[in-house]
Amino acid sequence: MNPALNSGLNSAVNAGMAPVATPWFFYGLAGLAVVSGLLVITRRNAVHSALALIVTLLAVTGLYLMLYAPFVAAVQIFVYAGGIMLLFLFVIMLVNIERSSKDRQFNRMWPVGLAAACALLALFMTAFVKGKALFPDRMMAMPESSNTQQIAGMLYGEAGRMGEYTFAFEIASLLLLVAILGAVIMTKKKV
Amino acid sequence: MAEEAKPPVPPPPPEGEKKPAAEGRAAPASAEAAKPAAPAKPAGPVPVPWTSPLVEKYKGQYGSGLDAQTYLGQNYFAVDRSLIPDILRLLRDEEQFDYCVDITAVHYLQREKQFDVVWILYSFPRNERVRVKTQIADGASIPSSVSLWATANWLEREVYDMFGIQFDGHPDLKRILLPDGWKGHPLRKDYGILQQDNEWVQINLGIESGQ
């Protein structure tokens, strides 16, 4: 992991130097994400798939950092790579690997999935090629201040003003709470 | 079956000129007497009949199947094989012998009934020990006392392991100190001290000589 990726724009500008997020990093990380993503769906051993998925997530984290979104990157590591994948592994480890690895891996829906993937790819390509022309007003401006604070402002509001997504955020957390309670009730014999 | 009376005291031969008091700790005087024993005839105390209300009670109940003796202050019953379950249960339930100290056996190769099985019991309330002995033949089985004292489980397994005596009703009668596939029961008198299950050693430990 190259620390230079992590720089904030402000300090970089202060230092009088250009940021170092070169295309090479992008291609490297993107390639890693794609290759490990393929491994996720092709490995027969579930633990190997999970490990590949972690690599994918970490590669995506690197991409976030390149986009000057360190907070999102940190959350990605924290929540996905650190938390969710750990629980995944936890479950997979206790599953009978020998049996599951003999199971048929692709179900018959794979043409549909392939079509969906191709459609998604097409969408991305379009956005990439024609994006600036299609949505000129949404062109991303380089963030002035740290985007951590912007996220905070959107979620919680600032200077006495309610945030844009405060309500949605709280509702989502309530939903999660319900999910947790449901899981407890389902697994525990006597609550 | 129960009427088959047996000589009451198997091991100690009756000759012996001194009869010490039933009290256990012999006085130094008797120690003096015991000491100069010539190799030919060991002098020593002999068992004397054990008299107590407990003995009276059971004597009356079981008659000749039961013999009560005291040797060096230690009381024991020599009991017919068929009375064993009753006697043990009564001793535990009515006489408060709540602690089974030990179960073991002695092998007499020459005798017709080759084995003595010995229960050593202790009563916490009475602070008293008693031994119960019975004779069984080789290959005969004996009821297990695991239901009376849980501790009998391993003790009986060890007796089985070492002597090959079967205990009926034991929950898990298998070898305890020796490995499962072992042949022979080492504490029998016909099992030599250098004897080994060579085959087992060769197969399981891979030692060619088997020793």
Binding site: - | P42, P45, A150
Partner: protein, 389 residues
């Protein structure tokens, strides 16, 4: 003979086929896990097969016999005198107690009694040995629970006891201190003084162990209500020694059926109430202090006189049989000897306290966690040399 180490891996697990109650909503697999014979916490070569649900213990089975040397068979082929050193090899941590029990049993069979001075020397050495045994227990038990420091403290202090043994009889561990009829050796010059010095040396050390553990929150949480055995269960399982006393049964052979010179000393029998690991710990700690009391009285009142009763050179007990037991550090150590009038025992049975106490393991650990199994094995205080003989 190398018939002592067997691979018993093909043992059936029949003991573990327990009822598996009703299927829970989300079924989980039971795990059969093998603890030992090479495991740091099984104190030698004990092998415990655990049946686990997650980390919860559903059942155990002890596989023993890895150290079986056939002591009882050896006894039948050795003379009474020759067999005397062998008993030290059973509970090698408390070799003096083993010797005391054996010598007293044979003496009883021969109807002789050791002289008073010999009895006092026996009491002093046996009680020193009890302290040493308990110290070793404490160190290893604490180590099992994760407190590694007490081990070194107890070994430092146990060393002083071993030094006294070494000076007395030349051996530290397998002492062979006593002979049938008394003691072979008169005490060396300065024995009393050294023992007294030891008493003043070790009393504050016991406080030191207690300081590390007795009020330690983690220690209490790890031991309180762990491995509980009720007095009734303990009696039914034939458990003796500190384990029985911790369950609240005030029973000590030194008081109940005094042997050696114990009837002449003033000491208490410490007991517990809950029968848990913590109580057993407290009982043993208190026992060490009581042993100090006994030693102090004995060393102050030690009479002059012979140390050997008049026994013939060739020991030939009369025909008969005897059971004699003493309170070894681990519990009731009994010898059942059948004599046919010859120089060799016709049958010698050892009633080993560790062996019988170990049987209570299953009762104690059902429903506990793996970590508790370790704590409970430690608290039973087994020595595999004695379990397997």
């Amino acid at each position: 003979m190398n018939d002592s180490t067997h691979d018993v891996s093909n043992r059936a697990l029949s003991n573990l086929d327990l009822e598996t109650s009703e299927k829970p909503y989300l079924d989980s697999n039971e795990l059969i896990i093998n603890m030992g014979p090479q495991h740091p916490a099984t104190h030698g070569v004990l092998r415990v097969i655990l049946k686990l649900d997650g980390e919860k213990v559903l059942g155990t089975e002890c596989v023993i016999g890895y150290l079986h040397r056939g002591v009882e068979k050896i006894a039948e082929n050795r003379t009474y005198t020759m067999f005397n050193p062998y008993v030290d090899r059973m509970d090698y941590v408390a070799a003096v107690s083993n010797g005391l029990g054996y010598c007293e049993a044979v003496e009883k069979l021969m109807n002789v009694e050791a002289p008073a001075r010999a009895k006092y020397i026996r009491v002093i050495l046996t009680e020193l040995n009890r302290i040493a045994s308990h110290q070793l227990w404490l160190g290893t038990h604490a180590l099992d629970i994760g407190a590694m420091t007490p081990l070194f403290y107890t070994f430092r202090d146990r060393e002083e006891i071993l030094k006294i043994f070494e000076k007395y009889c030349g051996a530290r561990l397998t002492t062979h201190a006593f002979r049938i009829g008394g003691c072979q050796y008169e005490t060396y010059a300065g024995f009393e003084k050294e023992v007294k010095n030891f008493l003043t040396f070790v009393a504050p050390k016991i406080d030191e162990y207690e300081e590390l553990l007795t009020t330690n929150r983690i220690w209490i949480e790890r031991t309180k209500n762990v491995g509980v055995i009720s007095a009734l269960d303990a009696i039914a399982l034939g458990v003796t020694g500190p384990v029985l006393r911790a369950s609240g049964v005030k029973w000590d052979l030194r008081k109940a059926q005094p042997y050696a010179a114990y009837s002449e000393f003033d000491f208490d029998i410490p007991t517990g109430t809950n029968g848990d690991t913590y109580d057993r710990y407290l009982v043993r700690m208190a026992e060490m202090r009581q042993s100090l009391r006994i030693i102090e009285q004995a060393v102050n009142r030690i009479p002059e006189g012979p140390i050997m009763a008049k026994v013939p050179k060739i020991i030939k007990p009369p025909v008969g049989e005897i059971y004699h037991s003493i309170e070894a550090p681990k519990g009731e150590l009994g010898y059942f000897i059948v004599s046919d009038g010859s120089t060799q025992p016709y049958r010698l049975r050892v009633r080993p306290p560790s062996f019988v106490n170990l049987q209570a393991l299953d009762t104690m650990v059902r429903g506990l966690l793996v970590a508790d199994v370790v704590a409970v094995i430690g608290t039973i205080d087994i020595v595999l040399g004695e379990v397997d003989r």
